[in-house]
């Protein structure tokens, strides 16, 4: 069923009794050309682009829970391409461009809202660093504007611009950045992939990867064995655990990242705003709640819940920036498990096991990458060569010393 104003009006006039499920509840077949492990945004996008761009429709996506139960529904919905390093900018900008056309592409309202991402700076040194980043972005064709204090004041009159401790000197604005309704991204890709013949198998947890003669032949799951010519891992958060089933050991630690939503407010914060003197970022959802987050908790974790110190740190950042939030109450908080890699950058690559492909190590930034990660991973699976915008995201870069360390933190995953 194609969604349009006509389908909406037609359904409204007929009591909304004719809506059909957005995707089939597929049971796994014995064998597929490609099996994708992980029904998050990345896995579903990969399946969609495999079918759409490469004509591969004998594809299954297996998901241990229900669609949207993992990180695609646990992030803070921010999309941006304000990166510094030449290995990263083209990839994230390609993702930004795919976001901009995604609703028409999928015929699904994913609520792309290019409300601007504003990174505040609080010192001269930080201004220099942000100017450098903005210049790198503009050299690569990405939009970036360096704002002074008065331009920030016009956007955020209620921020503590003149505080003695963290005065706001200005900000780096990416006007095309913004937010996207995250679970709609999973639903939209699932529906579009399903329409092209992809089987989406929910409640199907992978328990093993069948490898013989150095080649992957399929996966063992809670719903039986599924054979496959190519097995594609797209299960960030649990990448180490699943890859270990094929004997791989990876440069990844799993960490917990918390996010928060406040009670609803009237429209207050128009953009995505990040605090530069601590780790705090915020946007306001269409329901009115402030959606915000900060640092990862900083210790290895597979528990989808964090601890109080990080919550306190995030809230301190919020109040240092916006004192008028002092009496706002937090409505909900939750945690998601992220792959923190040793250089803070992702991996989209083949593995030492033939027929086994890896997309993971997205750190805390996988959501914004969803369309391009799917696009590039599908390209790799279909053609066996990396896509040009993801050519640096190789698994062997750690052995080659070709790290992509955007924050310059070294091999200490909890610092990225």
């Amino acid at each position: 069923m194609r969604y349009s104003i006509f389908s909406l009006v037609g359904q409204a006039l007929s009591g909304n009794r004719g809506w059909t499920p957005a995707w089939r509840r597929a049971a796994p077949k014995p064998h597929y050309d490609v099996v994708i492990v992980g029904g998050g945004g990345h896995g579903l996008a990969t399946a969609y682009y495999l079918a759409k761009e490469h004509g591969l429709t004998d594809v299954a996506v297996v998901e241990k829970g229900y669609l949207g139960s993992g990180n695609v529904g646990r992030n803070t919905t921010i999309v941006r391409s304000n990166y510094l390093l030449p290995e990263n900018i083209p990839f994230y900008e390609w993702s930004m461009k795919l976001w901009e056309g995604l609703e028409q592409e999928l015929n699904f309202n994913v609520m792309v809202s290019q409300r601007g991402v504003l990174n505040l700076f609080h010192s001269d040194a930080q201004r220099n660093a942000f100017a450098r980043r903005g210049n790198a972005m503009r050299l690569n064709g990405v939009d970036a504007e360096l704002l002074d204090r008065e331009e920030v004041r016009a956007m955020l009159p209620f921020a503590d611009l003149d505080g003695a401790r963290f005065p706001i000197l200005g900000g780096l604005l990416q006007p095309r950045g913004g937010t996207v309704r995250h679970d709609a991204v999973a639903w939209g890709y699932a529906r579009a992939a399903d329409a092209r013949g992809v089987d989406i198998v929910e409640n199907c947890e992978v328990t093993g990867i069948s490898v013989a003669g150095g080649r992957a032949h399929g996966i063992e799951t809670s719903r039986g064995f599924i054979g496959a010519d190519r097995v594609a891992l797209s299960c960030a958060g649990n990448t180490s655990r699943v890859a270990a089933m094929a004997g791989l050991r990876l440069p990844i630690e799993s960490h917990v990242m918390q996010a928060f939503v406040s009670e609803g407010l009237k429209p207050l914060i128009d953009n995505v705003v990040t605090f530069g003197a601590g780790h705090f970022y915020v946007s306001q959802s269409d329901k009115g709640g402030l959606v915000f987050g900060g640092d990862i908790d900083g210790y290895n974790s597979y528990a989808q819940r964090g601890n109080l110190p990080v919550m306190e740190d995030v809230v301190e950042g919020a109040l240092a920036l916006f004192p008028n939030l002092g009496r706002l109450r937090i409505l909900r908080n939750w945690g998601g498990i992220v792959d923190m890699s040793m250089d803070g950058s992702p991996i989209i690559d083949k593995t030492p096991v033939d027929g086994l492909y890896l997309n993971g190590a997205w750190n805390y930034g996988g959501f914004k990458a969803t369309p391009a990660a799917g696009w590039c991973f599908a390209h790799l699976i279909a053609k066996d060569v990396p896509h040009e915008t993801a050519a640096a995201y190789r698994l062997d870069r750690f052995a080659r010393g070709a790290l992509i360390d955007e924050k310059g933190m070294g091999a200490q995953p909890n610092l990225h």
């Binding site: 440069p251 630690e253 210790y299 110190p309 750690f398």
Partner: protein
Amino acid sequence: MRIKCPHCGERDAEEFSYRGAAGLERPDPHAPGAAAAFLDYIYMRDNPAGPLCELWYHHAGCRRWLVVTRDTRDHAITSVAFPPGAPQEPG
């Protein structure tokens, strides 16, 4: 999360800094295959979902390194000890 420091007693996790997995041995840089050994030592991790021996530093307390065994699935801590080779007495 609270960690029972053998020297200071039970304290909030906020007092501790995290280093990562314990028991990693720095390879001999002159041994054959040192490059591969350093790749494993610096970058590769088991990253288990379950009990993990890890290093925590009690920066806001006794400033000693501790080996903590913690289940990464529920943050339950089963043992806290001074590292092997370090003085085993508190203080």
